[in-house]
Symmetry: C2
Subunit: 446 residues, 2 copies
């Protein structure tokens, strides 16, 4: 890696050294190096790759650099790469670049290919159809193993999609699957019909990609066929795509839970400061304005505070504990739903469970808190009791709201992660304050 | 699925119906059904599976149910399953069950197998060695394709590990890899030497599993060979294990960030209330006690509050905004590090980036805040300025601490997620209060 990075810095480009180095390198590493090099150097180096390798490397390069390459290469070169590029990577590319670049690229390839890309672009974002590739080995049940191996040899389909071959009937309906190792182990004259697994786990083209990730994990899949509403095979999703989908979906979830609306899927270092700020300002603003409500609640109780100023000192602790306890519940529930461990109909069981957890936490924290206040505030038992009682109630409220909101959100088809920590913090803050001051007023008669 | 769940409820067990149903079902679905059935019913149903299928189903069953099965079956049955079980699943099982159950199981299998399991159990937790399986097809460079196919046929190695075969030399050193599709496409007499890819991405047995997940994603791998310090092939990690590792690691990260120390890897619904409470209490307690510091700070400024009680109303907003802004930075940095996008040496670049992001957010929020206070608090420009200025400074401090702590943690080998939101909230809370009161004292001369 360091070697190639050095070579890509020396002008003029040492074409011989690079041409010797490339075949020894992994495509992902070549792509990474080209990604980091100056634009003109990466174009020059890219031109040294033969067509098939070039397309392979291209699919690993970042979207911005891909666009730069397409703009820097000539029409024939673009056509060469785009005709060799796996169809799903071509779709990803077109989705990522400005419309005119996409149009230019589609003009370079065969009309058959551009129609196919166009078709794939129509699937909803984040659906199985938008992730799949159409390059799949299709067998018929009537074939023998020998026929099947011949079909694979001549298919020219990429290695990733060959591990499982799918069997279709005359109407292109998916009826079975055969893995490569079954073919290798079987006798050449055995019919596919006898070897195929007819119990195939498949996805519908409109299925959500997150659901698919759970199926891959549950069934240990390496590939999953995608069918249309008529049960006809339309494509295949491979596990390498699933690894990317998982990374994307997790980042999205985690960021949403922290109040970040990520408008681009770019890695951290490649995203500009203004874009980062834009992703984060919306929630910060909303939460700042809702905090005005908390402020207003405190103002209402200003008289109580004037009588007993020591109360103020407990506000941060109560709000903090409530916020943290709520965030814990929200997090486990959102994560459980993402993994398919918790479903909507579990809502009452989850609330009941969280309430009991909150009671246990509330008792332990309440006792610790009572002891601390009693020791540090002149053995003031009433004060200790008021704060501890408020703490316990806050925890129960925080945890039950914290676990309910994400499930309700899912129920009405809002992304649960959007209902996460920040919102719950605001609700819990208000509850904590009202509970605390109400109890204090009664206890101290103010 | 519903069908089998119904069958598993009817006593006595309808063995004929089940025996007919099993072969049509996916192993993962059979396992799920047995997991949900009553213990005696799942034992009876499990006995209907033939040995190979039984071992397959067993590997998909939850640890508790696995233990129940082992305790319910006789010695010969246990031996049968354990001899057929993939070695990595057997290791997982032994790790999960109480010591005496593990010992009993090891006693049932051949001494060769129990030595191997013992050996694998010695790898550090979460290392490549602890996830790998030793069942791998080993080829020699001297073989022809025909020899290689023969080796695969007779190896009896499970399907997952056959997609890539590894080539070793006389010293068992890893020297290359051949994929199943290359073998299928090549002529029978071609030597492996000419077909193998010598640029193999491999892991060391002691490498961390999280690093491995990033390699799988970067290189689109389906399997990765594991070597010892001498470069000798010791095992293979397959992508289905990586999918599980990713799910586990993500859950762990997300939960740590929310202040949950997960002591068991059990799914939410299967974990008891007390265990859940225990996972959460530690951080809640620590944060409650550190909040005492915040309380103490407020007490210090009690005089100022007595003069200007309106200041109290802004405390929740300042602390909330700081906490949220800090959590945003922490989250993106932890996530970036998990994906390998941010490394330790980026620390200064990240801090500089986050500071600028904070300035942008600070200016926007400051202006909005100024306007709100000016309008709602009798056009009190000084008050508006004091709060807005404190807000801006708090945001910058929150974001720069929020992004630095996780990187520093990683530097000293503490899990970055442990340094997450809750801790940062406490630090930021204190800073926000001190900044706010200091500015207020100067501005209002109190």
């Amino acid at each position: 890696m360091n070697n190639i990075l050095e070579l890509l810095k020396i002008r003029p480009l040492d074409e011989n050294a690079l041409s010797e180095l490339f075949p020894q390198m992994n495509v992902a590493d070549i792509a990474e190096a080209l990604d980091q090099a100056e634009d003109d150097m990466s174009i020059a180096a890219f031109r040294l790759l033969d067509e098939e390798l070039a397309a392979d490397v291209f699919s690993y390069i970042s979207p911005e650099k891909q666009q730069m390459l397409v703009e820097g290469l000539n029409d024939a070169e673009v056509e060469g790469i785009m005709s060799e590029l796996p169809i799903d990577d071509m779709v990803d590319f077109i989705e990522d670049v400005p419309e005119d670049v996409g149009k230019y690229v589609l003009d370079q390839v065969s009309s058959e290919r551009s129609t196919l890309v166009d078709h794939l672009l129509n699937y909803p974002e984040d659906s199985a159809g938008s992730v799949m590739t159409t390059e799949v080995v299709e067998l018929s049940a009537k074939m023998t193993v020998k026929d099947a191996l011949q079909t694979i040899r001549t298919s020219g389909v990429d290695k990733e999609t060959i591990y499982t071959c799918y069997v279709i009937d005359e109407d292109r309906k998916l009826i079975g699957a055969v893995t490569a190792d079954t073919l290798v182990r079987a006798g050449l004259n055995q019919p596919i019909k006898d070897l195929m697994d007819t119990n195939v786990i498949s996805a519908n083209a409109t299925d959500d990609q997150e659901e698919m990730t759970n199926q891959f994990r549950k069934y240990d899949l390496i590939a999953m066929p995608v069918v249309n509403r008529g049960g006809q095979l339309v494509g295949i999703v491979t596990v390498d795509d699933i690894l990317r989908v998982i990374a994307e979906e997790t980042t999205e979830d985690v960021e949403k839970m922290a109040g970040i609306i990520n408008l681009s899927d770019e890695p951290y270092m490649r995203t500009g400061v203004l874009r980062h700020a834009r992703n984060r300002i919306a929630w910060l603003l909303i939460l700042m304005l809702t905090a005005a409500i908390t402020g207003a609640i405190i103002s209402t109780f200003e008289d109580s505070l004037a009588v007993l100023p020591v109360l103020v000192a407990f506000i941060p602790m109560l709000m903090g504990a409530g916020g943290n306890a709520g965030a814990q519940s929200t997090t486990v529930v959102i994560r459980g739903m993402a993994l398919g461990e918790i479903v909507i109909k579990d809502v009452m069981r989850v609330v009941w469970r969280e309430t009991r957890i909150a009671l246990v936490c509330g008792v332990v924290l309440g006792i610790a808190n009572y002891a601390r206040i009693w020791l540090m505030h002149d053995r003031n038992a009433t004060l200790a009791l008021v704060v501890s009682l408020s703490l316990g109630i806050t925890l129960v409220v925080a945890k039950s709201i914290g676990c309910t909101l994400p499930i309700l959100a899912k129920k009405v088809n809002i992304d649960p992660a959007t209902m996460a920590a920040p919102i719950i913090t605001t609700i819990v803050d208000c509850t904590a304050l009202i509970v605390f001051f109400s109890i204090a007023r009664i206890a101290f008669n103010i």
